[in-house]
Symmetry: C2
Subunit: 289 residues, 2 copies
């Protein structure tokens, strides 16, 4: 009997739950770089030395260069933390870009990315050994998704590193993997999802990579992000995808994308078309009313 | 030196050149199933026994069932051919669906798919042997893209077959491949493109498959669609992608998607994000103004 794709589609659906009507564009220099929740317009209208707030969009007041824009955003973030509208800053800078690799118009603290709905980037690695997949369990003290299952290696994409450089860094930190091994990882594409979060809007691109490691490879956590590591048959990982809530919410997308690419998902299963397009954000477009 | 992705992006761009403002939705039973060129509204308004034509949409007048809807569309196609608005019919039926695998609301001749802008489907196979790719040259008498390079096996997806069944059929017809081999093909996803064509709008989904064949495999054309076959190193195929117009227009998308999935495209190359999302139609969405 053919397995249905419902569980896969549910994971993708959960990561793409947001209502465009609840947001307005956040603009810098007349281009959209983010999305801000409509119910925050009144709060933000107060900051009229930094922002222009209208019912249809919010714009950063024009500044001469990246440094000035970054400073204005940093001021704004500080005020939002002070007023309790943002929980805290992360002290890690994300570039504000429309596409990865462009010169950023500004830098913004990672902790404020969702509040402004800017596009944020990450790297995620599928680690395979003898046809089995390495999976990690997140530490119980993580702020996001404590104790949930995770890719062996994954991380936010900061300003100043290329995706491959970042992946090699994360492989060392999260799995004590030597660069001679991690630099053999193969880039396999990107996953897009947009999701209403308690902070605002997560507009995320996950750059995906595959790596085959030797049979005797054993990951060791270098940074305490993960408290256990497992090597499981793909069928067992697939079973876990059908159990609710054992993975950090976005990890199933990376694994389903891997399953799709390597031919584990039947083209004849109902929902295959949606599944194949949805991972890249292509399930909706002009005319898809 | 890193190779740029410009040639890949140009191929994808060429297959996604259309202006939504030039089209209106084509509706059946209050849902959109296609897109019709605005400049054809006057011509179609004449057919008021079959169509409701407004400045903002065209709808098939309500019919009780699939058979009646198919007959109405067949009448319409016949009149369009008689008046010279459509060149000819293909005598092959495509299902009118919003997603592959749904019960079609109607069947429509393949030759009229672009005129009504319905979503049409195809299967495309990457055939690999000893790390090299099999490529075919289309016969010089083909109506579409004569003498251009092509996937070894590709074909339109008719009503009544699953994608995998269709692929096996096409493998036999186009390469005389035994089903014991072709049924080992692995489904790897779907590519979406929308392109203004001289007939109307091509709204296509290509279901992609990979197959590794033995070193001694030699394709033989069963149906005369191809007049030559080549087995080329991936680097040479990649070089050909950078030469204008040697492939049938949509074939580079299938090959670039293969290159992406197997890790041949650097994640650090400018344009990687667009490339990865564009193949699934995800390069545009809400807020991407």
């Amino acid at each position: 009997m053919m397995r249905t794709l419902d569980a896969y589609l549910d994971h993708i659906g959960a990561c793409n739950r947001w209502s465009p009507a609840d947001y307005v564009p956040f603009r810098i220099d007349h281009q959209r770089y983010g999305a801000i929740r409509r119910d925050r317009l009144d709060r933000l209208a107060v900051e009229d030395d930094l922002l222009t707030v209208t019912p249809d969009w919010v714009a950063l007041i024009a500044k001469p260069d990246r440094l000035a824009r970054s400073a204005a955003l940093a001021d704004l973030v500080q005020r939002l933390v002070a007023s309790g509208d943002l929980p805290k800053v992360r002290r890690e800078l994300y570039p504000v870009v429309r596409r990865w690799g462009q010169e950023p118009v500004a830098l913004l603290d990672r902790g404020a990315a969702d509040y402004f709905g800017i596009r944020a980037y990450g790297v995620h690695l599928n680690v395979i050994s003898e046809g089995e997949m390495w999976i990690a369990r997140r530490a119980r003290d993580k702020a996001v998704a404590p104790s949930k299952l995770d890719n062996l290696v994954a991380g936010g994409q900061p300003y100043g590193l290329s995706p491959m450089e970042n992946l090699i860094k994360e492989c060392a930190e999260e799995a004590s993997m030597p660069s001679a091994l991690s630099e053999q990882a193969k880039p396999t594409g990107a996953i897009l999802y947009r999701m209403a979060s308690d902070k605002g809007l997560r507009d995320h691109i996950l750059f995906t990579f595959d790596l085959t490691v030797p049979a005797d490879f054993r990951p060791v956590s270098g940074d305490g992000e993960h408290e256990a590591f497992y090597r499981w048959p793909l069928d067992y990982v697939d079973d876990l995808l059908r159990v609710e809530d054992v993975f950090k919410f976005n990890i199933p997308l990376v694994i389903v994308d891997y399953f799709r690419r390597v031919g584990r998902i039947s083209s004849d299963a109902p929902g295959y078309e949606d599944l194949a397009l949805a991972l890249a954000g292509g399930w909706r477009g002009k005319f898809d009313d």
